[in-house]
Amino acid sequence: MSIKNKFDELNRTASVYFKREEGRLGLLEILPGITLITILLGGSLGIVLLYSFLDPAPVSAESTFTLQHYREFFETGFYLSVLLDSFIIAVITTAAALALGYPAAYYLTIMDSKWKSLYLLLMILPFWINVVVRTYAWRLILGSNGLINYLLVDITGVINSPLDLLYSKSAIAIGLVHVFLPFMVIPIYISLNNVDRSGIEAAKNLGANKLVAFSEITFPQSLPGVAAGVLLVFVMSFGAFVTPSLLGGQQNIMIGNIIGQMFNELQSWGLGGAISVIFIALVVTIVYLFNRQIGLDELYGSGGDA
């Protein structure tokens, strides 16, 4: 992760910059934050884990230990197929965000400095605008009375009847790319910005053309940013909730909507807990495998404690 990478790098600089102080004051300063995270996040995840093994959940006098929620998850094809759909939507979203985001991030690093800060601002601004509003906007574009159908049917007359664009998996993926694109562009931009320019010049002096210089020198050095962006966008779109619920309709839901339903409307906290546990386990496994496969540690250099 890029933030972690940044921390490690800063840690290393820090040890040169100044000496750390000894003593208990540091522990005291960390205590409120760490207590909040441990109790509120750790504690609540613990309760969800507990509920996933209880029936009925939440705890009552008759509650007994059971594996039935997990059995129900694996025996009901529905949950597995939603999980698979969610995975596919997340992969497509991530791939699209990478394909769209990388060239833009690259352009930001090579462009004239006169416009650079404006372009950077334009790239980051959508991140600050409310996700519900941004997702709602796509209903006005993809809906049967939306902008695209207006352009295709009323203005150009390319087709006669409006297309069914909203309430589909593609609509979800488009909305997710729109929402999470800054999370792809920013880490890639940061790592591209750190690429050592002298290497590129040297390669060109030795006869490499632009494309070779890019693929041999620039691209490999931008991989940590790519890895960070891919991980962030994948994890966030895999667990998406508001985008599928506004753009997917009844037919196309993602695993986040199922988890939400279990806790809100259906009050099946046991099954909802089991699905949450399976989902987290899956996300952690994927992130772990991704890290091992891509060799993030090698890319980042040896991290470790500072």
């Binding site: 972690k4 921390f7 409120p32 760490i34 995270i37 090579i110 790239m123 009323d154 070779v212």
Partner: protein, 280 residues
Amino acid sequence: MGLIRTLSSNIDLSDGFSTRLLKVHTLLLFTFLYVPIGVVVLLSFTPDQVPTFPMPGISLQWYAEILPPNYNEELISALFTSLKIATLSSIGAGVIGTLAAFGMVRHDLHIRWLSTDKLNTAFLLPLVVPWIVTGIAVATLYSLLGIYGTFWSVVLGHILITIPFVVTIVSSQLYGFDRSLEEAAQNLGASEIRTFYEVTFPIVVPGILGGMLFAFTISFDNFTQTFFWTSFGTDTLPVFIYSMIRTGIDPSVNAIGTVIVGFSLTVAVIGEKLSQRVLD
């Protein structure tokens, strides 16, 4: 790889052409990012009951509906709930996160199982755990404790999810802090406390404010977790808008959306200016 290498060494892109291609791509991407937002703004001025194209004219009636005297009371109450929660949680996250950043950057804890590395990871956890799971899990804990849906429980939850931003921003500023300034002050006779107030604090304050502003926006905009934490009476603005969209077509959604976009962009530009000051 061999094939790609041969291919790429034979394609010679002129400087101008490839750069122009990248520029066109980037501008198209901006179109993709901003057209939807523009459509919301544009359709907020429609006189129609249904926000669609073509617009039969221009009208301010949907703004009239959300502004006094005939404003929607639930909307205004949601707005104030959001502002209160964002203010309180950014102060909370600002204090707790700044303390934690000082503790992590400036002290060696000498606890074997609690390295700085592990602490960094711990403080990023609220960001990394899938939001939907944080949402339902904390709601479960709250209902077990009997504080589900209360105002302060939402504030506490928002402190949890905004802490990572404050810790990251403040500690990056502390890492770049030249401590010889503090030493100089103390050599000149300043006490430790006076050094903190006159040297350390003024230098770190833009970072803390930047982090708090970030926390404010994150809290103000948060939907996924908040949706599971609020109940009737503590609904925040995003939760209110979401239920408005879900329950049917209300054309004033566009006007509300436009106001929110304007507000967010103002805060964002201030935030960028502040963080640029931090980075400089």
